[in-house]
């Protein structure tokens, strides 16, 4: 019997290692696997490359990783949000490398990694400083930039429901980067609100098939106060 669920957050991230590249899902706070990130902080692995749309705010999540000096490089489209103090501080001090990627190129480079493509010609960013030094090509009268896959050793994502085979559904706009990062991570680790018996998730509504999922840990939903 295959059961991808693990009982604790600690076990879920046990095989992280120094120097790992880690994708972290979420857009703003929706879909951020907050408890898994806490477990990464507790684990203590350092010299990390973090691939995530945002770079965290305040003292929690990715910001806590940065504060603890565990992050060498960030690949993001929008690292700077109100309250991204630790990111700003380390970046200005030259202690944190930033690869700034247009959000849609980030999405399609993650998809290229998950889909086994070697590179893609995308129109986004052509003629801008984010394409400087990159190969370009005119195809059918339109200009494109060659972009390479973003691979990761781990993908940490938050979903809604799972079963023991790792089939996932998501909740509203918390879906965002989850499904594509699940496909791109060499190991994909998921926190879910519920783990349901096999066969109770309708096969038509599975968003991420279990083939893309290595480990699932249940973190029940906490009601969040309105900001």
């Amino acid at each position: 019997m295959i059961d991808k669920s693990v009982p604790t957050l600690k076990e879920a991230v046990a095989d992280l290692f120094d120097g790992a590249a880690i994708m972290i899902g979420g857009f703003g706070e929706a879909g951020v696997p907050a408890e898994l990130i806490d477990a990464v902080v507790d684990h203590g692995a350092g010299d990390l490359t973090i691939i995530s749309n945002n770079a965290g705010t305040g003292d929690v999540g990715i910001a806590a990783l940065i504060k603890a000096n565990k992050v060498r490089k960030i690949v993001a489209s929008y690292p700077r949000m109100a309250g991204s103090i630790y990111f700003e501080e380390r970046y200005r001090a030259g202690e944190l490398e930033l690869e700034l990627v247009p959000q849609g190129n980030m999405a399609c480079r993650i998809q290229a990694a998950g889909s086994g493509l070697g590179a893609v010609f995308t129109p986004t960013g052509y003629g801008t400083m984010l394409a400087e030094g990159k190969e370009t090509r005119e195809i059918d009268g339109k200009h494109y930039v060659l972009e390479y896959p973003i691979h990761a050793d781990f993908a940490l994502i938050k979903a809604y429901k799972s079963d023991r085979w790792g089939n996932l559904t998501y909740r509203k706009a918390a879906r965002n980067f989850g499904p594509i990062m699940a496909m791109a991570g060499k190991k994909t680790i998921v926190q879910v609100e519920e783990i349901d018996p096999l066969g109770t998730i309708d096969p038509e509504v599975v968003v991420t098939p279990g083939i893309f999922v290595d480990r699932v840990v249940c973190v029940p939903h906490k009601t969040k106060a309105a900001a």
Partner: protein, 213 residues
Amino acid sequence: MQRMSSDALAARVAKDIPEGAYVNLGIGLPTRIANYLEAGGDYFLHSENGILGMGPTPPDEEIDWDLINAGKQPVTLLAGGCFFHHGDSFSMMRGGHIDICVLGAYQVSEKGDLANWHTGAPDAIPAVGGAMDLAIGAKQVFVMMNLLSKSGESKLVKECTYPLTGLACVSRVYSDLAVFDLGPDGARVTEMVEGVTLDKLRELTGLDLKLAD
């Protein structure tokens, strides 16, 4: 010379959005356009974080932080709306499926180059988000802005001096003083606010503006 208020400008842009259009309204002022779309009409608002059929801001007691827009503000979903992942969401943009995208801008060139993501300040921490994807993907990209910056310089320019978001991507600028169609031959004025003249716009922008036919 009377300037249009932001709300009047939003209402003006809304008039050019036909029922049935798939529309992405950029963060900031453009989101206000939603308030002026014809009541009862079917308009499809897209948010790049994976929503089609976005509805208005919910009352406080119905806020769901899993249902936010690209500006990270709580929204609602209309009946007939749906969710999808970031890959599909940006395929909608890059693939030309969005009819109209309305963005703010630091500068727009008369040929339609857009600068709206970076002030060029050497110590600025860069953040681009979906700006470049939105700029190049929609069938029509509209810019909504005040014609002059706070310091009085024209934001409609011969060539952008700020870092570019996209090349030749803006088709129309709705400003507080006039509406401009942009293209390879430069900017043409299609509407002016009462009291504004072509000569005045030429003076303000320093551009060889023409009236649209």
